[in-house]
């Protein structure tokens, strides 16, 4: 089942929040500046009651939580998303999982939240399965899963999945991550994931032995097409640095 119009604005809020995370920065639950995915989720799903499973960093249960509603285990999330029967509970589970984690891993789960909110059940389930691989220390396998099953999800959901797969590969295989971002930009240059993908791809291409000219092109296109996007200031800074460097 596709998301309804009721959640459009919260979705935008989540996407904006995810994009607003500085590149390379991490989200640290508990820090004053950290945003709480669970809090955002509560805002999104409105009356749906959730009860936090005890976890080191879990937020205290909301006042409106129904006593018989428990958050799913992470392993159950793909199935819940795929079935479409208990999507709100799955989303709450993703949010809770993000709160349990810290740093880059938390960021990935927040990204999953955006994919699951915005995309169809197949996309959400595939992304969740990929992240479970990452949780087990196998991010490349997670990315491989997305790559191999990408054709099974609707076209509109593919950019978000490619972006997530590229994130999974940033550490273990940056070249492959760059290839996925190139594919994302070819497939959907106007997708909401495109600016961040372009920025990260440019950062990779500006590295030694890569394609600096293409990096400059990407940054210029990004800035000109989205001058007020949250990543535009970083793109301008990067462009200046690339031009200054010998």
């Amino acid at each position: 089942m596709r998301p309804t119009g009721r959640v459009t604005m919260p979705v935008l809020a989540v996407v904006t929040a995810v994009l607003a995370v500085p590149l390379g920065a991490t989200v640290s639950p508990g820090s004053p500046d950290a945003y709480s995915p669970l809090e955002m989720l509560r805002g999104m799903v409105g009356p749906v009651s959730v009860q936090a499973v005890p976890a080191p960093h879990a937020a205290s249960p909301p006042q409106s939580a129904a006593p018989d509603t428990v958050l799913p285990e992470p392993q159950a999330i793909p199935e819940l998303l795929a079935s479409g029967q208990d999507r709100a509970r799955a989303l709450a589970g993703i949010g809770a999982r993000a709160e349990e984690l810290s740093g880059r891993r938390a960021t990935l789960w927040i990204q999953l939240l955006a994919v699951a909110e915005k995309g169809g059940p197949e996309a959400g389930a595939l992304a969740a399965r990929a992240l479970l691989h990452a949780d087990e220390g196998e991010p490349a396998e997670g990315a491989g899963l997305i790559r191999s099953e990408l054709d099974t999800v609707p076209e509109a959901d593919r950019p978000a999945l490619l972006g997530l797969a590229a994130h999974l590969l940033d550490g273990p295989d940056p070249a492959e991550a760059a290839e996925l971002r190139t594919r994302l930009l070819d497939l959907a240059p106007d997708a909401s994931e495109a600016p961040e993908a372009a920025l990260r791809l440019a950062r990779y291409l500006a590295g030694p032995g890569e394609d600096r000219e293409r990096a400059v092109e990407l940054l210029e296109e990004l800035i000109v097409s989205a001058p007020n996007h949250p990543v535009a200031p970083t793109a301008r800074h990067m462009l200046t640095e690339i031009r200054r460097s010998p």
């Binding site: 800035i223 000109v224 001058p227 535009a232 301008r236």
Partner: protein
């Protein structure tokens, strides 16, 4: 025969107009207005954008006192792209909007000044200087305005004629190495500076470094007199005038030329040669790190005065567009900042010097003319580093894109673009 529009055609027009309202930018406005008031995202790069337009052979206008000194640029896809790349806010405006702005300018203390040429810029700086040694270099680098560097050799070979605008690095034109011998005599960088200057003096057959610097100062004076634009900051302001006025005496400490200064040096000064100052007492003691009593703040002496804020004057834009151009800013009161010369005692200014900004009874920013040219002196070293010390990290202007103190520097850079056409005489 005139065809009357049909109802269908009218509906199409209404539909098109309605659609146009949702476009992010008008497809083709006639101009781009670059506002310079507080909402401008990057004031400093806005100057670079305007320079870029001029460099392409196009013309622009500077709306003095309108939205704190907005620029009007011809609209084009390329200019919009450049504005976006630089992060400069630019608003498309059509002919009717420009007409309304001109009407406002006509009514108020405002003026529209055409900008016609991209000035050729030279910075007088030693060959080994780092960009962060000099606020002007930092500003030009950040705003992406091209410049060339010159030093004593180029000046003495007459190369200043190739430039419209000359900025002086914080040079000590008295040839005393900023009196850094007091604190840095063992430093490798100072020894290197001494060797480089002595070598330059020998190359041009001059007796010593103070003579070299005074000769360079005279060349700079000739450059201005012939129509050049001079902008100096920090110690270059004070020492340039001291060098020019000391042509018949010796004001330099023994460490600079091997001789003690003349005991009556102050009395022998010829201020008629100077740009801005007169009647100053020369500081000839080698143990006092000051050049004269022109500077009010005396930063490296026991008489050091604390920093305050300086206020920009507002000038009548239609009557005095030059002074108005130099003070365009989104902030009238600016925090002061030290330099080897921080501010100028007003009782040491020549009559006719225009004070552009003042802090109490001392001037921070002054302007004047000499012959066909003009000069502007701005006290202090770095507007965003009030207590700049040798070895400090460079100022990162990405953190200060709206710096009002740096804006004053860039006003000077564009000022030569507005050179009025020569008056036609019978």
């Amino acid at each position: 025969m005139t065809r009357r529009p049909t109802r269908t055609a009218g509906a199409v027009i209404v539909l098109l107009l309605a659609l146009a309202a949702f476009l992010p930018l008008p497809a083709a406005a006639q101009h781009l207005l670059v506002p310079m008031d507080r909402p401008q995202s990057d004031h400093l790069k806005a100057y670079g954008l305007t320079y870029w337009v001029l460099e392409r052979g196009e013309t622009a206008e500077w709306f003095l006192n309108y939205r704190d000194g907005a620029f009007l640029l011809p609209d084009s896809e390329a200019t919009r792209r450049e504005a976006a790349l630089r992060g400069v806010q630019a608003e498309p405006v059509d002919g009717a909007a420009v007409a309304r702005i001109r009407a406002r300018i006509q009514e108020g203390n405002m003026e529209a000044v055409p900008l016609e040429t991209a000035p050729r810029i030279a910075i007088y700086t030693p060959p080994n200087a780092q960009p962060w040694d000099d606020a002007v270099t930092l500003a030009l680098e950040y705003a992406d305005i091209p410049y060339e560097t010159v030093w004593d050799g180029e000046v003495l070979q007459g190369e200043l004629d190739e430039f419209d605008w000359l900025h002086l690095h914080h040079e000590d034109f008295t040839g005393q190495y900023s009196k850094f011998f007091l604190a840095y005599s063992g430093s490798a960088w100072l020894q290197e500076e001494v060797a480089r200057n002595e070598e330059m003096a020998a190359r041009f057959g001059l007796d010593d470094v103070p003579t070299l610097k005074r000769t360079v100062a005279e060349e700079i004076r000739d450059y201005v007199e012939a129509g050049g634009f001079l902008f100096a900051m920090c110690s270059a302001t004070e020492t340039l005038d001291l060098a020019l006025a000391s042509h018949r005496t010796d004001i330099s400490a023994a460490f600079a030329n091997g001789r003690p200064p003349a005991p009556d040096a102050t009395q022998q000064m010829d201020w008629s040669r100077a740009f801005a100052f007169q009647g100053a007492e020369v500081q000839t003691s080698p143990s006092v790190n000051a050049f004269s009593d022109i500077d009010f703040h005396q930063v490296n002496t026991a008489n050091r005065r604390p920093l305050g804020s300086f206020r920009l004057f507002e000038f009548a834009a239609k009557i005095d567009p030059v002074a108005s151009m130099l003070v365009q800013n989104h902030q009238a009161v600016i925090s002061d900042f030290y330099g080897l010369t921080t501010s100028f005692r007003t009782d040491r200014l020549k009559p006719g010097v225009t004070i552009l900004a003042q802090e109490g009874d001392r001037a921070k920013y002054v302007h004047g003319t000499l012959g066909e040219g003009t000069w502007t002196f701005y006290g202090g070293h770095d507007p965003e580093d009030p207590e700049h010390q040798i070895g400090d990290a460079p100022t990162n202007l990405e953190l200060h894109p709206n710096s009002p103190g740096y804006r004053l520097i860039l006003n000077n850079v564009l000022f030569p673009s507005a050179r009025p056409a020569p008056l036609r005489t019978q």
